[in-house]
């Protein structure tokens, strides 16, 4: 059920109002002549809503880095005569993340789960709790090769402050002026409701019978628009992986892996990190920082004595796919993989997770 109807112009005005108090992040088109159409989208800080393209295809990277920066100071320290003092760094400016597709909404919920359980990670939540999220639904797959429907992450029912359904995009894309585009609005939080219905003139209107009918049509078309890519149902993936632990496919596929970690880098649910020291000059002060790390890098599982528990690329590939297809879900209750296929697109060796799952399934 839709809560409200907003036009594109309503949203532009409302987002610009947010910009007064919030740092705005949204998908921005960057020219890329080798792509068709010749643009790629990146989540970037912007000043104005007009810089954001709500009808973007997909973000080359997910919005992960605004929740978990590639490099982050955990604390600064100052050495004293015989000891030290430390000061935690948990500053976060209020951030509005505009234009998040359902797959990335699911991925953010996974990160939330990871950083909330066991020992709560306050550095993560300092940012997360100051984040306002406006999601945009996908009426059709954003590009080829995605398998979000298989991962049941092409719809999101929670994990956002506001969800926007681009009701006219199927029929009117490219034919009607953007400011007549209708968005069905679903509120996911009180903050979301307050944003579009708060003080001053309401910028939106209540949905009418026509809107409700169009939303039904939208959902029906959407169901038909998303093909299935995996031959194995989602709930059977853990069993498939469990019986495939010793498959030769890991080696066969990993033969061409460069262990570059590009898949980890672009994955919206990869969260592993390293912790290192950064010293200032003179060496009396410094910082402990965490930086993204990747399980596909050769040194990731090295232990004392330089023994490497995953020394071979096939062991690392298997580790990644097992995390995505089974272990993260088992541990956090959230999706380990959202089917965005960023790993597959980023892979310099064209290793493809859908192919891996389907080849494993053929092995029976």
């Amino acid at each position: 059920m839709l809560d409200r109807i907003a036009t594109h112009a309503d949203l532009v005005a409302a987002i610009n109002e947010l910009a007064a108090q919030w740092r705005l992040i949204g998908p921005v088109a960057r020219p890329e002549p080798r792509c068709q159409p010749p643009v790629r989208y990146f989540y970037e800080p912007v000043e104005r809503a007009e810089q954001i393209d709500l009808s973007f295809s997909y973000g080359v990277y997910s919005p992960k880095r605004f929740l978990m920066p590639p490099g982050e100071t955990l604390f600064t320290f100052r050495k004293t005569e015989r000891g030290f003092t430390a000061e935690p760094q948990m500053e976060a400016s209020p951030t509005a993340l505009i234009g998040v597709h359902p797959c990335d909404i699911h991925a953010i919920q996974t990160l939330d789960g990871v950083f909330a359980r066991d020992f709560r990670d306050e550095h993560y939540f300092a940012r997360r709790e100051r984040m306002f999220i406006v999601a945009v639904d996908c009426p059709q797959p954003c590009t080829e090769g995605v398998f979000c429907r298989d991962m049941e992450s092409n719809d999101a029912a929670s994990g956002f402050d506001v969800m926007l359904y681009p009701l006219d995009r199927h029929s009117a894309r490219g034919t009607s002026p953007a400011d007549h585009d209708r968005y069905g609005v679903v509120f996911g939080s009180d903050a979301g409701r307050a944003w579009l219905m708060g003080d001053g003139l309401p910028r939106t209107r209540a949905p009418g019978a026509l809107d409700a009918r169009d939303f039904e049509t939208y959902q029906r078309r959407k169901q038909a628009a998303f093909p299935r890519a995996l031959s194995t149902p989602l709930d059977e993936l853990p069993a498939l992986l469990t019986r495939s632990y010793d498959s030769l496919l890991w080696q066969a596929t990993a033969q061409r892996c460069y262990s570059c970690g590009s898949c980890n880098l672009v994955c919206p649910t990869c969260y592993c990190f390293d912790i290192n020291e950064e010293n200032d000059l003179p060496l009396s002060t410094g910082a402990r920082v965490r930086t993204w790390d990747g399980c596909q890098l050769r040194e990731f599982a090295v232990v004392a004595g330089d023994h490497n528990f995953r020394a071979r690329p096939q062991e690392r590939l298997r580790h990644r796919i097992f995390r995505k297809g089974m272990w993260i879900q088992r541990r956090t209750g959230h999706k380990g993989c959202v089917g965005c296929a960023r790993c597959d697109r980023a892979c310099t060796a064209h290793i493809n997770s859908v192919e891996i799952y389907n080849q494993l399934a053929e092995e029976g």
Partner: protein
């Protein structure tokens, strides 16, 4: 948010507190154990006891250098001070070795899942330690000796590579003379002065009296290559694998189940471990291979 560490108790995961901030601990005493290992006695600056389990570990910080995981090698029954046996292998441990009494380092922990003393109480206990595994083993040994009447028969097997690599020599002498523990010792490579047993740690099993399979719990602590051979000896004596606990070595970075470095298959050694039941460990292919 500004925090002077000296006034901050370590309360992991409590709202607003960073779980990555180490608490300052002062070095009370240092002793050389071998050419590579030193024993450090530490006290948290706020006077609090660590309140740890044998088998747990801490992250030791040298600001400006980094942090590394070290097993606790003293028992919580020994008061608020705690001891760490540190082998000099890398940058952080080299700097730890340079600490002098009165110096301060950072401590996060206790971390991980250790040997639950409650589970061992009332049982016969066999501890099999190899190499540096004697360090975490010592925590459990001390616990049992301090609470001796609450345990049944107690056997301790310790194998080191060479006499020069034996840790805790003072303790070894005491344990050897103590009626409270059946202590057996061997070295792989004896030198001409060595008067004791030689051979790998499993050769000590033939010197054990008959074990009661129903009553005995076994703790195996050492390099992973040792586990399999010890477990074969243990199973051969009719002890069920559910009664066998192993401590797993990994290089923990965050120590709180996030960073992924200590992950063996689906488990995080820093959370579910480092102490596992052998039955759980057996299912983890990456843990033992």
């Amino acid at each position: 948010m500004s925090t002077m560490l000296t006034s901050e108790p370590v309360t992991f995961g409590s709202p607003g507190r960073s779980a990555y901030i180490p608490a300052p601990a002062r070095l009370i005493d240092v002793r050389d154990l071998t050419a590579q290992e030193k024993l450090f006695r530490l006290r948290l600056d706020d006077g609090r006891a660590l309140d740890h389990q044998p088998g747990q570990f801490v992250q030791v910080s040298i600001p400006g250098v980094g942090e590394c995981p070290i097993s606790l090698c003293s028992s919580p029954t020994r008061g608020p001070d705690f001891e760490l046996c540190v082998r000099r292998v890398g940058e952080v441990t080299t700097h730890i070795h340079e600490l002098r009494p009165g110096d301060v380092c950072g401590i996060r922990g206790p971390l991980g899942h250790g040997f639950d003393p409650q589970e061992f109480i009332g049982r016969d206990v066999l501890i099999v330690a190899g190499g540096l595994g004697m360090a975490p083993a010592r925590s459990l040994v001390q616990y049992i000796l301090d609470e001796r009447t609450r345990f049944g028969r107690f056997h301790l097997l310790y194998g080191a590579r060479a006499p020069t690599e034996l840790l805790f020599r003072d303790d070894l002498v005491r344990w050897n003379e103590s009626p409270d523990v059946n202590f057996l010792l061997t070295v792989d490579r004896p030198d001409p002065q060595w008067r004791g047993k030689s051979g790998v740690v499993t050769t000590l099993f033939r010197h054990l009296p008959k074990l009661d399979p129903e009553r005995t719990l076994v703790a195996v602590i050492g390099p992973p290559v040792m586990f399999k051979f010890v477990v074969i000896e243990v199973l051969a004596r009719g002890i069920p694998q559910k009664s066998v606990f192993c401590s797993l070595e990994r290089r923990m970075k965050c120590g709180i189940g996030k960073c992924g470095h200590c992950q063996a298959n689906h488990v995080y050694a820093c959370l579910e471990g480092p102490v596992f039941r052998y039955g759980e460990l057996k299912a983890l292919r990456e843990a033992l291979e």
